[in-house]
C-alpha cells in the first residue's frame, strides 16, 4: 500500500473506516524511515519500539470505542528541540548528546494526549541556529528533491522527512524562519502560529521573545488538524497567551471572495531570483481568481529586520545558553582545573562554531557600554517593524510574498560567510519580530526544486491563514508533488 502518499486527514479517515490500523501505518512509516533515512539523515533518534506500543494502544482504544479523536494512532516525529521524557533530547548539539530529558514538553504531552504516535526525533541546526541544517552535530540533512542541496533550517530534519514522505507530519520551531524556509525548500506546508499561541515549556530556548512551535505537513488541512491539538494556554510558559483557541478546521472551506491580500513592495525588489518571482506572481494570480483583491503595501522598516534580529536573537541566546555550564547536565570537559576552566572548556567543546559566534555576538550586544547602542536600539526598531505590519493590516486581511529570495542552495555553498547565510531569512524574520503567524506553501518549481509562498496573518489569525492556504490547495496541485526518488 502507498500509505505515505496520503495526507494525515486521509489516513485518519482510513483508520476510522477500518481500512487500516495504527499498527499497519506505523509499520509502513517505520519501513519508510529505514529504507530512506540513510541518505537524508533526517532522524537523530528513532523510537520505533515505543511507537509500535503506542500504535497498538491506539488500536485497542478504537476497538473499545474510546478513540481520542482524529489524530489518534497517526504517526509523526518531533523536532529534537522538544524535551521527551526518557528519550535523548539533543537540540542538534554535542552539548546535549548525553541528555535524557526527565520531563515532556507541553507540545509533547498534548500530541500524546491526542493519541499521535511518535517515530522519533528529527535532526536540526544546533540549538536552532542556522538556515541550512549544516550546523547540526549529527551531520547535514539532505533535501529530498536533490540530495546535493540543503533542506533549509533550522528544522531541516522535520521538513525533509515530510518532503520525502517518511512521516506524514512533524513538529518544528521558528525563531526567524525555521519552519517557513525549510517548508519552502522541501516543497511542503509549514505554519508558525502567533507568538504565545503554542507553549514553549520544554522547548529548548534559543531566543525567548521570538521562539514559537509549529507544524510541517503536506496540506494546510493537516497542519490545521495538528496545530489545533498543539495550541492553547499553558501556565508553565510565562508568555503563553491566556485566550481560547480558535477552531482552525471548520472554516477551511470558506470562500476567499472579498478578502484583500497585501503585497509588500519591499519583498519584490532586487535580489529576488526570477524563478521565485515568477512562481509567486502566478500564485497571486491564482488568489485573484479565487476572488481576493490584491494591493501593494509598504513596510518601510522591514529592511532592518535582519540587523535587528542579529542583535535581539543572539542577545537572548547568550542569556539562555548560559545554563550550559557542565555542572547540572550535558557535556562536561575532563579534569577541569577550576570553575572558570570548567565553564570555558565545557562550552568550547560542547558548542559548535555558529552557536559560539552567536553567544559572543549576544554577549557583546549586552555588555556594559554597548547595551544601549545595540540591544535597546534594536528593540526600538523592532517596534517600528511591528507597527508597520499592524498599520498594513488595517487595510489588508493577509500579506503574501516569497518565503525565500532564492531556490534551495548547495550543501557547503554558503558556509564560509555567516552574513550571507543570515540573508536567507530576509523575508521571514520580520514576522517573528512582529509576533505574527506565518506559513509557507508550495506554489511552483524551477530546476526540479520547489518554491514557497509566504502568507502572513494578523495576530491570532491562524484560522484565516490556514483557510487561505487550503483554498489555494483546492485549485492547485503543487502540494501533491513528491520527489521522484521517494514516491
Amino acid at each position: 500500500m502507498t500509505w505515505h502518499t496520503k495526507t494525515l486527514t486521509e489516513l485518519s479517515s482510513a483508520i476510522a473506516a477500518g481500512e487500516t490500523t495504527s499498527r499497519e501505518l506505523t509499520e509502513h512509516f517505520i519501513a519508510r524511515v529505514e529504507a530512506h533515512d540513510g541518505e537524508l539523515n533526517t532522524f537523530v533518534t528513532r523510537t520505533f519500539d515505543a511507537a509500535l506500543a503506542a500504535a497498538e494502544a491506539a488500536d485497542a482504544r478504537r476497538a473499545a470505542g474510546e478513540s481520542l479523536g482524529p489524530l489518534d494512532g497517526l504517526p509523526f516525529a518531533h523536532k529534537d528541540i522538544f524535551c521527551t521524557k526518557g528519550v535523548k533530547t539533543t537540540c542538534g548539539s554535542k552539548m546535549l548528546d548525553n541528555f535524557i530529558s526527565p520531563y515532556d514538553a507541553t507540545v509533547v504531552e498534548k500530541l500524546q494526549a491526542a493519541g499521535m504516535v511518535c517515530l522519533g526525533k528529527t535532526n536540526m541546526d544546533e540549538f536552532a541556529m542556522g538556515s541550512s541544517n549544516e550546523t547540526s552535530y549529527y551531520g547535514d540533512v539532505k533535501n529530498p528533491w536533490d540530495t546535493s542541496k540543503v533542506p533549509g533550517g533550522s528544522s531541516g530534519g522535520s521538513a525533509s522527512a515530510v518532503g520525502a514522505r517518511l512521516v506524514p507530519a512533524t513538529t518544528g520551531t521558528d525563531t526567524g524562519g525555521s519552519i517557513r524556509q525549510p517548508a519552502a525548500f522541501c516543497g511542503i506546508t509549514g505554519i508558525k502560529p502567533t507568538y504565545g499561541r503554542v507553549s514553549r515549556y520544554g522547548m529548548i530556548a534559543f531566543a525567548s521573545s521570538l521562539d514559537q512551535a509549529g507544524v510541517f505537513a503536506t496540506t494546510a488541512e493537516d497542519a490545521a488538524l495538528m496545530l489545533q491539538a498543539m495550541s492553547g494556554f499553558d501556565e508553565r510558559d510565562s508568555t503563553s497567551i491566556e485566550r481560547p483557541v480558535d477552531d482552525l478546521v471548520t472554516g477551511l472551506g470558506e470562500s476567499l471572495a472579498g478578502k484583500t491580500i497585501g503585497l509588500p513592495k519591499q519583498f519584490f525588489a532586487d535580489g529576488l531570483e526570477p524563478e521565485v518571482k515568477a512562481a509567486v506572481d502566478a500564485a497571486i494570480n491564482e488568489y485573484k481568481s479565487l476572488g481576493t483583491e490584491v494591493k501593494e503595501i509598504d513596510l518601510p522598516n522591514i529592511g532592518l529586520s535582519v540587523p535587528v534580529y542579529y542583535v535581539v536573537a543572539p542577545a537572548e541566546a547568550s542569556a539562555n545558553l548560559s545554563r550550559f555550564d557542565g555542572v547540572r547536565y550535558g557535556h562536561r570537559c575532563d579534569n577541569p582545573e577550576d570553575l572558570t576552566d570548567l565553564y570555558k572548556r565545557t562550552r568550547a567543546e560542547g558548542f559548535g562554531d555558529e552557536v559560539k559566534r552567536r553567544i559572543m555576538m549576544g554577549t557583546y550586544a549586552l555588555s556594559s557600554g554597548y547595551y544601549d547602542a545595540y540591544y535597546i536600539k534594536a528593540q526600538k526598531i523592532r517596534r517600528l517593524i511591528r507597527d508597520d505590519f499592524l498599520k498594513a493590516f488595517e487595510e489588508v486581511d493577509l500579506i503574501a510574498g516569497p518565503t525565500t529570495p532564492g531556490l534551495p542552495f548547495g550543501l557547503g555553498e554558503q558556509t564560509d560567510d555567516p552574513v550571507t547565510m543570515y540573508l536567507n531569512d530576509i523575508f521571514t524574520i520580520g514576522v517573528n519580530l512582529a509576533g505574527l503567524p506565518g506559513m509557507s506553501i508550495p506554489v511552483g518549481e524551477a530546476s526540479g526544486l520547489p518554491i514557497g509562498l509566504q502568507l502572513v496573518g494578523k495576530h491570532f489569525g491562524e484560522a484565516e491563514l490556514l483557510n487561505a492556504a487550503h483554498q489555494y490547495q483546492q485549485v492547485t496541485d503543487w502540494h501533491k508533488a513528491i520527489p521522484a526518488a521517494y514516491q
Binding site: 526527565p102 521573545s209 540587523p307 555542572v327 570548567l342 559572543m360 554577549t363 509576533g435
Partner: protein, 95 residues
C-alpha cells in the same frame, strides 16, 4: 564596526568560552562582519520610540505563590556529570 582580537578575547571570556589563538582570527573577522551588517541600524532615528520586548505588548503574568512541583532531585540529577550525596560536584572553589 570592527573588533580587534583583544576585544574578541574579552568577549569570549565574558561568554565563558575558551577560544584558541588559532580560532581568534576567524571569530574576529566573522563578528566584525556581523557588526558591519548590524550597523545599518545607525541610519534610523528612534527618538521617542519605546523599546519593544514582547510583540503582543504582554506583561509578565504572575501566579499564586503556592507549591506546584514536588521534589524530583534524583530524576533531575540523573543527567548530572558528577554528584555526591545529592549535591552537584564542581572543582574546589574555596581554598
Amino acid at each position: 564596526m570592527s573588533l580587534d582580537s583583544g576585544a574578541v578575547k574579552n568577549i569570549a571570556h565574558l561568554a565563558r568560552i575558551d577560544v584558541s589563538e588559532a580560532d581568534l582570527e576567524t571569530y574576529t573577522k566573522d563578528l566584525s562582519n556581523i557588526l558591519d551588517m548590524v550597523d545599518q541600524m545607525n541610519a534610523v532615528d528612534v527618538t521617542g520610540v519605546e523599546p519593544l520586548s514582547n510583540a503582543l505588548d504582554a506583561t509578565q503574568r504572575l501566579r499564586a505563590d503556592v507549591v506546584t512541583e514536588t521534589n524530583k532531585r534524583e530524576a533531575l540529577q540523573a543527567n548530572a556529570p558528577a554528584t555526591e550525596d545529592g549535591c552537584f560536584l564542581v572543582p574546589r572553589v574555596i581554598e
